[in-house]
């Protein structure tokens, strides 16, 4: 318990949050312990470590870890720290190694993190035991994969991964089931974006259906004015269609798109694109080929059921967001209270026509690209929130849009009246308070209390 503990619950009110949640370094440090070391944190995908010895060096929260497939084929997540003097052992982003060796004094580790050999081991005092499990690149207490998506938790006890994911497993299923062969693989490189703002700000934008029409107007207008007679090799076509789609009027978001939230802070935006108006679109020959391949492999009925899932971003709090229709996946890495890095990945649908993946790449470049005509304006917003919050403006920030319209949903969830609702932000802060106050993100199931808003404002 800290002095801060008594204040935490006072920083969140119905429909409002205190700006300290985005600016206070002490709160940030506590988030790193109580959320990023307690929740199931997304680490990577099994296809990134296909063969024994394959590894990826990454971070769990801010803490360096290594995702590795050991000699027996098991996927592990181990702390990237030498048990001797503490040096980072794995210094390259990815690769294949028979074992890990520290560059300082040559301590060598098995792929599962156990100590293998110590030079000069006769020089240590009696009782020094290289087989002591504490003398290791320590394993993160719990590591679990859901159909290839690897998560880890720094807590040895708590809800299991599937229980914690809850209904979000259906979004992960949607990522995989779109592959004709029922399998996906990470491919096509990684974008890394940096912004000077709090990590939560990024998550709070992912299902924000009220911002594109305003924030992205420069790219919407430029795309609307673009002549389709100008030469395209196919890559620009998808990008421009998506930018035009961002210009859908508010009525579209209010009438046609919904938002669903679930315990532990998770959410998704649904019914956005159906495959008839998807940027790939039914009259796109590539997409028609894809559907034919799916039907040949899986039958018409199963294909229809798979493709009628129409989710946009699915967010697994606190660090994973993905978009199944174009196989995009983003991982949030908090750096400090006011610095964040986001890594974005693409997935290849095994068995799909090669040009489907080209569409995935084109889509990534325009929606998640560092030089995108769209994302650059989002990054500007994140930085401006970081800057704006240094002013002496209002202490409380509004997250109340759609509050009175929140509705209970199946699977322990809560949905917004429509997609412009900020219900998913309120849901994340309920989970936040659960983790921060008592280590239980399931407070996200709290029933809405619309009347509280009116009371609060009196």
């Amino acid at each position: 318990m800290t002095v801060l503990d008594n204040e935490l619950s006072q920083l969140i009110a119905p429909g409002r949050v205190h700006r300290r949640l985005y600016t206070d370094p002490t709160i940030f440090e506590l988030e790193m312990q109580r959320i990023f070391e307690a929740a199931w944190v997304y680490i990577g995908h099994e296809s990134q470590v296909k063969k024994p010895g394959d590894y990826v060096a990454t971070q769990m929260g801010r803490k360096p870890v290594v995702l590795v497939r050991d000699g027996g084929g098991k996927v592990r997540v181990i702390r990237n720290q030498c048990a001797h003097r503490g040096a980072l052992v794995v210094a390259t982003d990815k690769g294949n190694a028979p074992e890990f060796t520290c560059c300082y004094h040559g301590w060598t580790y098995h792929l599962d993190g156990r100590l293998k050999a110590v030079p000069l081991n006769h020089g240590y005092p009696a009782g020094f035991d290289p087989t002591d499990p504490k003398l290791a690149m320590l394993q993160v207490p719990r590591v679990k994969s859901y159909r290839g998506f690897v998560f880890a938790s720094g807590k040895s006890e708590g809800p299991g991964l599937e229980e914690w994911l809850g209904h979000m497993t259906t979004s992960l299923d949607d990522m995989i089931d779109r592959a004709p062969e029922g399998e996906i693989e990470a491919a096509g490189g990684v974008f890394r974006h940096a912004y000077d703002g709090n990590w939560k700000v990024y998550f709070e934008n992912l299902c924000d259906a009220a911002h594109p029409l305003f924030t992205h107007r420069s790219s919407i207008e430029a795309a609307q004015q673009q002549s389709d007679d100008v030469h395209s090799d196919g890559t620009g076509e998808i990008a421009i269609r998506q930018m035009r789609q961002n210009g859908a009027p508010y009525s579209f978001w209010e009438e046609n798109v919904g938002i669903w939230t679930y315990p532990n802070g998770h959410s998704f935006l649904g019914d956005y694109h159906d495959d008839a108006k998807l940027v790939a679109a039914l009259n796109d020959p590539v997409f028609r080929d894809y559907i034919a391949t799916m039907e040949a492999k899986q039958g018409k009925e199963k294909t229809r059921r798979t493709l009628e899932v129409r989710r946009w971003n699915s967010n697994v709090y606190p660090n994973l967001s993905f978009m199944s229709q174009f196989q995009q996946l983003r991982v949030v890495h908090p750096i400090s209270v006011n610095e964040t890095v986001v890594h974005t990945y693409n997935y290849r649908l095994k068995g799909a026509p090669a040009r489907m993946f080209e569409n995935t790449i084109s889509f990534a470049n325009i929606v998640n690209g560092t030089g995108s005509l769209v994302l650059t304006d989002d990054l500007e917003i994140y930085t401006r929130i970081g800057l704006g919050l240094t002013s002496a403006g209002s202490e409380w920030l509004e997250i109340g849009r759609g509050y009175a319209g929140d509705l209970p949903a199946e699977h322990g969830g809560r949905r917004g009246k429509n997609s412009t609702s900020e219900v998913y932000i309120r849901n994340m802060f309920d989970a936040w308070l659960g983790y921060m106050a008592d280590g239980d993100g399931a407070r996200g199931t709290r029933a809405p209390a619309p009347q509280a808003v009116a009371e609060m404002r009196q």
Binding site: V190, R192, S218, E221, A239, E358, I361, N365, G369, G371
Partner: protein, 171 residues
């Protein structure tokens, strides 16, 4: 912010694809970008041109791997139109840039086309901070009706795979 109008200058064209003519062209292109004359920059490209900034060193293709920027002609036009928008919030305030072009060599030349390699250093100043970019450019140039034109341009940043803030002003 509206950029001051400047008189369009005739494109430099010495009549031959030697290194000096190419360097004059590349310096002219850099000047157009530094001065925010993006429409004029766009007019340097052919009608089916592409412009590519890979995300990985030695990237083989823009089709199977993401790129910091990969624009076909249609998307490049959209990019340039957006740069002129008063509502481009990521350019509020506008960047100021300064480019140095050097080490110009002709990789391959025919009578009416050539591939030119050059090095660049770019300072970008915006909102009280200055960023340094550098790397290698490859230009495929042809002689068109109005002078030299760019068929494709590839820019390999030294730090292409680093975490970047938004990259808005073209390289």
């Amino acid at each position: 912010m509206t950029l001051p109008q400047r008189t369009v200058q005739p494109r430099p064209d010495s009549g031959a694809f030697d290194a000096a003519a190419c360097e004059t062209f590349l310096v002219h292109e850099a000047r157009l970008l530094d001065e925010g004359r993006f429409d004029e920059w766009l007019s340097l490209f052919t009608a089916d041109a592409w412009y590519w900034v890979p995300s990985e060193p030695n990237q083989a293709s823009p089709r199977d791997t993401i790129s910091l920027i990969y624009d076909d002609r249609r998307l490049l036009e959209t990019r340039v139109r957006r740069l002129a928008s008063p509502r481009i919030y990521s350019q509020e305030p506008r960047s100021r840039t300064s480019r140095m072009i050097g080490n110009v060599t002709i990789e391959e030349a025919a009578a009416d086309a050539c591939t030119v390699r050059s090095k660049f250093q770019l300072l970008e100043y915006r909102r009280e901070s200055q960023h340094i970019f550098g790397g290698t450019s490859l230009h495929r140039l042809v002689r068109g009706d109005g002078g030299i034109q760019i068929v494709w341009k590839r820019v390999d940043l030294v730090n292409c795979d680093a975490p970047h803030e938004g990259l808005v002003v073209p390289f």
